[in-house]
Amino acid sequence: MTVEAPAKKATADPGRPVVKRRRLTLVQRLKRDKVMLLLAGPGLLYFLVFHYLPMLGNVVAFQDYQPYLGFFNSEWIGLENFTDAFADARFWSAVTNTLVIALVQLVFFFPAPIALALLLNSVLSSKIRRFVQSVVYLPHFIGWVIIVSIFQQLLGAAGLLPNVLDAVGLPRYDMMTDPDAFPWLLTIQLVWKDMGWGTIIFLAALLAVDPQLYEAAAVDGASRWRRLWHVTLPGITPIIILLLILNLGSILSVGFEQLILQRDNVGAAAGEVLDTYVYFNGIQNGEWGPSAAIGIVKAVFGTAMILGANKLAHFFGHEGIYRGADK
């Protein structure tokens, strides 16, 4: 594949003056591309060392890994780590919490940027639109530590919400430490942080909708809402489906930073998710093998979800993340 690419290019490029090119040998071509390859070298090294080497490190999932023995001398124990992990009640509690949080976020966070993008798109004054955009994009650039601190100040025991409740004669309520409200708290924080940022991709998709379609629909007597339903939404459906599929792929990873900062506020029973479980069990308690096993299960599950959701999208006649073979 890599050897053929340049030859194809030489014949398929009609714009170049027609000079009959000798086929270069591999050595000649390496010499020609020397500088380019040297420049890409550090990047390649980075991806190999920090993205692919750790994948090999997943072998500890099949070992009784001991740091002083290392990868090569630790005992191989087959699937014992997996069975150990699955036998742990805390693991299943973490799975449940993760899925509940992911579900609440999918239903209540995912549509928020779409709604805001539609609202912004319908604002005619570009000045107002720009202003709102520059305000709502900002929280995306703020780290979770700061965001949780700010929410502590708003909803925490001495914050805005309890004070307002107190002022109107209701009992003080501290949402930050209420285990039942935890998924909702996380979702509210996520909406605050990323609702605005999420609109970018939908606004770009909305710009690409052909204005003639709106005109034609208006001429045919379609009302504002009908145009929204029959022109705008179908126009951005592909991008919605794409993001939905990617979202399903990461359904078992609900923001590690956000969770680990607030897990102790509500206790492990409600606040432990898979990633924090792996962190505490693996890195803090030294249960390397079972924790790595959970990491593998997570990755396999995520990939399966992406492929499955993509199949489903094809089945309903959408493109998904890549075109199906039958298209």
């Binding site: 050897v3 005619l124 530590v145 502590q152 390397w288 790595a292 990491g295």
Partner: protein
């Protein structure tokens, strides 16, 4: 098309006003509280909307050379070195792979792109950093995230969109690939490189996950870790000798002052970042 109805416009306006206020209000409140005196905080039940007697005492305490000051220096150090390293590595890789037909180029590209789909997981990454001897060093905050595949794609697609005639004619004049990068590509790519640099800088500034995982020594702690210790875990801060005033500033004001110190650099770079989004510089890259 028909004119928008007045109630439709009012509803839209109210919805947007609510969203803008909901985003902006917390910032105002944090800054106001950080400037407040103890009396005012108690009078307002812990929440100040506008300080009537603003004071910088809280900032004096945290910037007097204690934990927060050290963390601030650490954070600035990591963010500046990290940004320079990341931008250099990303620009080099993006340029190296921006020309079609480079031997092995597609293969390297695939390696970079596939890394976006699969992560190795927390444990193997942690073990790798330990094995490489990076544990408890600032390098552990920089190297594991040196190149973001997303930023790489943004730059590469921009480089590929530059007119090839420029490079071809430079080549005819005898310029090598390196000279083309330095003399032609870089000067033409100031805007996207600026965006990518700001993305990296903000990322390093906010980095909490890597710092939590890899920094054990509190001397090396960065601002997010200190923020967690003092603001979220509520550890009271020693007032030390540094504070010469008679009434020490309230803990809450100090906590909010730490939050403001962590926020300020982001608020400073945001106007530059934001210009590029509303112009849509990135949306082309996102779609392509």
């Amino acid at each position: 098309m028909e004119r928008p109805t007045w109630y439709g416009l009012t509803l839209k306006f109210l919805a947007l006003a609510f969203i803008v206020l909901a985003v902006a209000y917390p910032f105002v409140s944090v800054v106001a509280t950080s400037l407040s005196t103890d009396r005012e905080i108690v009078a307002n039940g812990g929440l100040v909307i506008w300080p009537t007697e603003p004071t910088l005492d809280a900032y004096r305490v945290i910037l007097a050379g204690g934990d927060v000051t050290r963390a601030l220096v650490n954070s600035l150090f990591v963010a500046s070195i990290g940004t320079v390293a990341s931008v250099c590595a990303t620009v080099m890789m993006a340029y190296g792979l921006s020309r079609r037909g480079v031997t092995g180029g597609r293969f390297i590209l695939m390696i970079a792109l596939f890394s976006m789909l699969f992560g190795a997981g927390i444990i193997p990454n942690f073990l790798l950093v330990k094995e490489l001897g990076l544990y408890n060093t600032f390098a552990a905050l920089i190297l594991p995230g040196l190149i973001s595949a997303f930023n790489f794609i943004v730059l590469r697609s921009f480089f590929m969109g530059l007119p090839t005639e420029l490079m071809d004619s430079a080549k005819v004049d005898g310029a090598g690939d390196l000279r083309i990068l330095l003399r032609i590509v870089l000067p033409l790519s100031k805007a996207p490189i600026a965006v990518v640099s700001l993305f990296y800088a903000v990322g390093y500034w906010n980095a909490f996950f890597n710092a939590l995982l890899y920094l054990d020594d509190t001397e090396k702690w960065t601002l997010p870790l200190i923020l967690r210790l003092y603001v979220l875990q509520g550890q009271p801060m020693a007032q030390g000798e540094a504070f010469a005033g008679d009434v020490p500033p309230p803990q809450l004001a100090i906590q909010m002052a730490v939050v403001v110190v962590a926020l300020v650099p982001i608020l400073l770079v945001y106007p530059f970042l934001q210009r590029f989004f509303t112009k849509g510089v990135l949306s082309g890259a996102i779609k392509g």
